[in-house]
Symmetry: C2
Subunit: 365 residues, 2 copies
Amino acid sequence: MADKPAATAATQEGQARTKMGAVKMDDIARMAGVSKSTVSRALSGSPLVNEETRARIQALVESHSYRVDTRAQGLRKGHTHTIAVVIPLLHEHDQPISDPFFLELLGHIADAVADHGYDLLLSKIGPGRTNGMADLVDTGRVDGLIAIGQSTAHLGLERLAARGMPLVVWGAQLPEQHYVTVGSDNRAGAERAVAHLIAQGRRRIVFLGQRTVPEIRLRHEGYVAALAAAGIEPDPALDVPTRFASAAALTAMRSLIAGGASFDAVFACSDVIAISAIRALQDQGLKVPQDVAVVGYDDIQMAAFYNPALTTVRQDTATGGRLLVDLLFAQIAGRPARSVMLPTELVVRASCGAALSGTTTPGSR
Amino acid sequence: MADKPAATAATQEGQARTKMGAVKMDDIARMAGVSKSTVSRALSGSPLVNEETRARIQALVESHSYRVDTRAQGLRKGHTHTIAVVIPLLHEHDQPISDPFFLELLGHIADAVADHGYDLLLSKIGPGRTNGMADLVDTGRVDGLIAIGQSTAHLGLERLAARGMPLVVWGAQLPEQHYVTVGSDNRAGAERAVAHLIAQGRRRIVFLGQRTVPEIRLRHEGYVAALAAAGIEPDPALDVPTRFASAAALTAMRSLIAGGASFDAVFACSDVIAISAIRALQDQGLKVPQDVAVVGYDDIQMAAFYNPALTTVRQDTATGGRLLVDLLFAQIAGRPARSVMLPTELVVRASCGAALSGTTTPGSR
DNA sequence: ATGAAAGCGCTAACAA
DNA sequence: TTGTTAGCGCTTTCAT
């Protein structure tokens, strides 16, 4: 590890940097026999620079693999070319949760951000400290914020938006809300899923999810609406709160079963929760979907591969992620941005006990 | 959304910013009746500043919620206080994969980075373009790099390390390698798992994973070693390459079955792959573990909740993530850093058909 | 078509 | 203990 660099160093004649002392715009200028300003212009594609000069500069830039210092550039131009993604739920109870849904969404956001030529800062700021989010832009680290899940931060988010901070959040669209959200139609998605369960002849349907989260509250409304449409009175005993982690869901389901509750279906507020619930049911010798039908939410990749394959409400993370980013850039550019509610799709597979002839298996369609 | 800010604005007397025009250090200095330098000193906890002055400055800073501009600070001090995490596999074939293992590791890295008071830049640079990684630090965007999975970028990573760039990669420890890695003992982990399968009486064991990835190659070595120890000759027909995505694994497994291969166990190179494989087996009416025993790798949270619960080789993402970060900071500080190989643990659950009396179910221990 | 000079917001000598 | 003066590396008037 000692001589290799030296050897390489001897190769290039200019040898800009061996380890430190990166080449700067001034250096390129000197070598090209022009001024800093000209180099700057050449690099930013200004038309007021001689083609020949530009070529000479380009060559130098290449051969020395010079890159403009974005930090200095940003300081001068007043922006950062990076946006932050904040995932409150990433640190539920100081333990990273690992819901695949987040990574899927994050992946799409990363793509979209990169397409705009921006960098992405991932922040672990919790929902409690929205001023932490504000700092991110106040200290000139990012140009805007994307929050995934409003969680309990609603008020804080309102404050940020009121301050004119570029901000888009993935989550529920609340009444009287002043910040921009992108999210699926939680109410309709849940209603549709529960209606489907009812159509299968299920009547005692468990609601598995924590209603303190705005999106979950909307899903609960959909649940209630579907029941109402069928003339069913919601039973409080079947309203089971649980966090998004597998273990929490398992525990919740187990104690429901232990409590002797009677039910024939479960509407779980995420696929991860659904999977844990199924596990708990099977452990007790209950068959899914025969004894208990289960529907999840999200349609994470693994949903199709579980056994039984999971019926679930698909959230379109691809267009969601892109929209999140587009709306943020609109705000940064000073253009108006309006909240968007994405339609959901009920993906019927085996776990809900629907027309088994049509069981959707991955790859089979 | 129009009058709220105005109302709030009237509340605070100083009213630093309504929307733009963030307050700067100069402003605080003027208000405090001191110079910029004094403010700078006060804020950085310098001992050469009068306590009373410091208090006055602090008060102003609070009331105007002033934050120093990290971009300017970094420009001056020569660092960025942010490090980049590059996940090559995040964009296999232009499609984001969503292996929970990555999120778990990423979460721990995020924690550790935050503990150091640094920011985390998430980059989608692919394994092919390691010069893209170099740019990240050359353009002054980050102080160092963490690559998750060396994938096919080995040579590029070597070059970066040779240039003296702070870099740590999660992956396999290759011979003659000049960059620092953190990773589990892939060879031993795989060997142990396969040996366990053999101990259950299985002899025809499928290897499910792509050997072009260094870590997978090591796992294959372990697989071969375990077979050899039992006097079993590896059958090339049972060496099934597959990418990390669920769909790819499903396809691979299906065509193996369709090809009429005979086998009684599967060693899958990730839990996601294992789950898809089980799905494929069950679709064909094969029982797991009775007909085919399956072992996975990673021990993602969901492994315990699958049906059957997955026997798997646990990789300790918590200490892995922390180590990755610690070693990177060591390099940044100019301290020496040595590669670390983490021990793995075989977590025996139902899918491998081991002593079923002891089936490990989540929460039951 | 190019150069000189003035900053972007901050820190770090060097003085006082 | 505090202020003054230079920059960090770049962009951008304003001249030429």
